[in-house]
Symmetry: D2
Subunit: 292 residues, 4 copies
């Protein structure tokens, strides 16, 4: 297949590389063109704008925000106008439900296929083709691109026939992670106030009923009070939980825990932690308990 | 060692059996005396009241509530008056911090040792000697009883030298479980309202970043809407989270997420689910989102 | 002065009438043209579109939503293109901060004056020229239109030189009202569960430390469970509190109480009360307490 | 009537004085005996313990806490044992529902009457006999003491035949006040962050839809950031809202707003404001918004 790939960031680059290595005819585009050089050396062609990359059978996009996606989709040299009838667009980023629904409508009107396929995993998992792919959209369209998902991820979850459904589930997972982080922070503040070592508490929950990457990674960040190398920062937390609440309000669904998380992230940012990891809410919980 | 064991419920019975099988001289007491019969056949002596069981070197208690513990401890025929100087009391139940501190003081005044050692695990884990023991109290006293912990559990976590610290951590773990349950419920209501199958969402989170018994067990209960065989019921959730908030207030620690959980459990009970599993809060979240 | 007035709804009509009665040269526009007839008979001219009404010195608008305002402002036959340099636009509706800031920028670019002047009061207060005017914008511009405010209201509060500041304060007042309503509902559910007559409780708080229209009006609605003639409905509550949270998030301000109110309104709507007064949240609080 | 009065604090003293001035035969008791001297000079007899003051027809108590009430009631020289059959006890303090129910039971068992009659108003209102009396208990018993209420207050609200009902309503009123304070604080933080003067916002809400002593008094304290002369302090807020939540939990009533207030008060105390007015939560809201 003739495939385009737009957005060669930390996650996008290894995904594109895996697609190329699988033998596909790949055209890549990135705003900072130099990032495409190694792929060019490996046989990819380099497009001069998104439209050029979108001229084939399938185009993947991995924008870093809803606004960026809008530009790639609808802007000058954007993909919507460039895609041929029947071509398929696969977007792998965490978009809002509103944006996803808007893009879906535009592609439907234009006779294109559209699959929302946000991924879970870190860059090293992307490099190892071990991502989890959350796919939603027309079943036949997903089938068509499934072989490509197979070369970039370890498993594809198909969530429904409306593309925004996978964006919603991605937001739900981020919410669940945020909830776990805030609950660890809230209870660890109490444990510390009662004279219990954070590491001792951490060992108990990760060593018994809360295994898994979220509790281990963030539990350790919180116990070590080591917030200076943000994976996700507070703005991302505010945006993700905010988009979840926006989607829930549109569906008339109350979100009492999400609201608490949102307020915690906003408070943490207002109190001077904008450049920290979003787990820094745990530091705020400790301060709110009078721990210096 | 001469050991007493009081409280032969679903958890207490297999624990007592493992202690007996390890070759200790065991005296058991249970309100419903018949439950002790098989242990008697296996060589245990049966005490006619708690005091009698507490006459040895160490006495274990596994009461089902703070009130029950008060009776066993301070009542007529209770253990406080019966224990000899230097004897050790180990309480394995989830007590409130207030009750634990009160018992600690009484034993200190009487020259006894006291270890709070609530356990994690289900009856089958107790039978297999695979419990997790959360111990707190005087370090030397814990050392003395550690060999007994080794025949009933797979791992002992030592959390501090104040017995109530392990009760607090047990409450914190129950809080973390309640938080996971409520977050699953809140996001699954949204997913359902958006037309996503509960099972599909369940597979995503348990199959990726949320492994572990809490997410698997309760996620399935929620996805199946199968709340009729309560492990823990709403009263237990209200009590546990309530005791956590009580302990936090005493330490001047705000608990915003715990408060949401407490209100959810209270609401679920008020709306007619007193006899359901505490995961039934997820059903309430769905109803609050207009799902029938 | 030559004045335009756009939007002859329940509030707009009596305001326009008072302006006309004060002797101004008035041009009115309303989508349903017939509503302008009595004003025409009284000497007003009737414009065929917003632009025509905006051709004078000052144009008042009273749209019923942000979208409507956008259309009146930026649409075909809208006022932005029609106003002459130095002309003043006064908008009297509760707009979001985002919309107000956007309109401000457009008028500044075009060399127009802009005053945001949302009002407080019911239609009968508008008819009696007893409204409260919350004004923000350039001080000199406000001075210019102050004589007109004087013929429609009993008092003008000047809140700042950025027009959106008065929109924010209007949203804050609606939040305070929503908070009072929810607090009455929450505590009245408890009082009822304890066997206290709603009227008895109502008399206590309105007769002592909570006088004023909000507590009296909504307290009576709640005590009487009489939600069928909505002044404000749940969608309005969801929108108003939602816009407040949106503005607060943009300013990095956490809003824990506003979040609870928002969730309550959403829940009340989801559970079948979309056409009720927003005080119906009190009925939900009662249901959540198990009161039928 | 032969009346006793126990507790001559800031509120109790003027109440006792008004009862004496109305011509009753009054016996007073206060822990610090000297406070009774002026009443003695005016004709009251001074009792040497609560029991002595409780020997007449009616005994009023105004303890400063539930624990103090327990002591006055059940302690050595307490009133329960001293009251004659058919005598009436009127307690004017804000007690918890649990304590009120316990006292009620004890008096019922002993054949005494019991009226809970917490009051609203400040010391100067007590001196001017302008208090509001919130009475609950047996209707005939209330009738008997009504003439005494008439010489100390401007109005008596009768709330039910279970004495604790008036304690509950007193807690509800304190909750409503706390809710108003927190809502002012939350919205004033936002207003300040948007560059609006606190005084300007204060004038708007007190000058329009939120008249009354709560909004005026606390609104000014918050706008002035003048928290150093506490009327009520944070511990009182934590206690009152905590007792309300305790009563609500016992009745299976969720209290989402009360929970937010409780957490805010706890946070404000933990962050170093234990000796400030409870309105200091507004300072915390401002800090949480990044305002120094």
């Amino acid at each position: 297949m003739k495939i385009g790939f737009i957005g060669l960031g930390k996650m996008g680059y290894p995904v594109a590389e895996n697609i190329l290595n699988a033998g596909h005819d790949l055209s890549v585009y990135n705003r900072t063109a130099a990032k495409a050089d190694p792929l060019k050396d490996a046989g990819a062609s380099v497009a001069s704008n998104p439209a050029e990359a979108a001229a084939g059978d399938v185009v993947f996009t991995m924008p870093f925000s809803d606004d960026h996606m809008d530009e790639v989709m609808f802007g000058d040299g954007g993909i919507l106008a460039a895609m041929k009838p029947g071509a398929i667009h696969v977007c792998m980023s965490t978009l809002s439900v509103v944006t996803a629904d808007r893009i879906t409508q535009a592609h439907t009107d234009a006779g294109h296929g559209y699959v929302a396929a946000p991924v879970m995993g870190r860059p090293e998992m992307a490099a190892a083709a071990k991502l989890f792919v959350l796919a939603a959209g027309n079943a036949k369209t997903i089938e068509t691109v499934q072989p490509i998902f197979d070369v970039i991820g370890q498993r594809t979850f198909v969530l429904g026939d409306r593309p925004s459904q996978s964006n919603l589930i991605k937001l739900c997972l981020n919410f669940m992670a945020a909830s776990a982080i805030n609950s660890m922070g809230e209870s660890m503040a109490l444990a510390r106030k009662c004279g219990i070592e954070p590491d001792a508490y951490l060992e108990v929950f990760t060593g018994t009923i809360f295994p898994g990457v979220v509790y281990q990674t963030y539990g350790k960040i919180i116990a070590d009070e080591n917030y200076d190398s943000p994976g996700a920062d507070l703005d991302l937390g505010i945006k993700d939980v905010g988009q979840l609440i926006e989607a829930a309000t549109a569906q008339t669904v109350p979100m009492p825990i999400a609201s608490v998380l949102h307020n915690n992230f906003v408070m943490a940012k207002a109190r001077g932690n904008a450049d920290k990891d979003w787990a820094v809410v745990a530091k705020l919980m400790a301060e709110n308990a009078g721990i210096e």
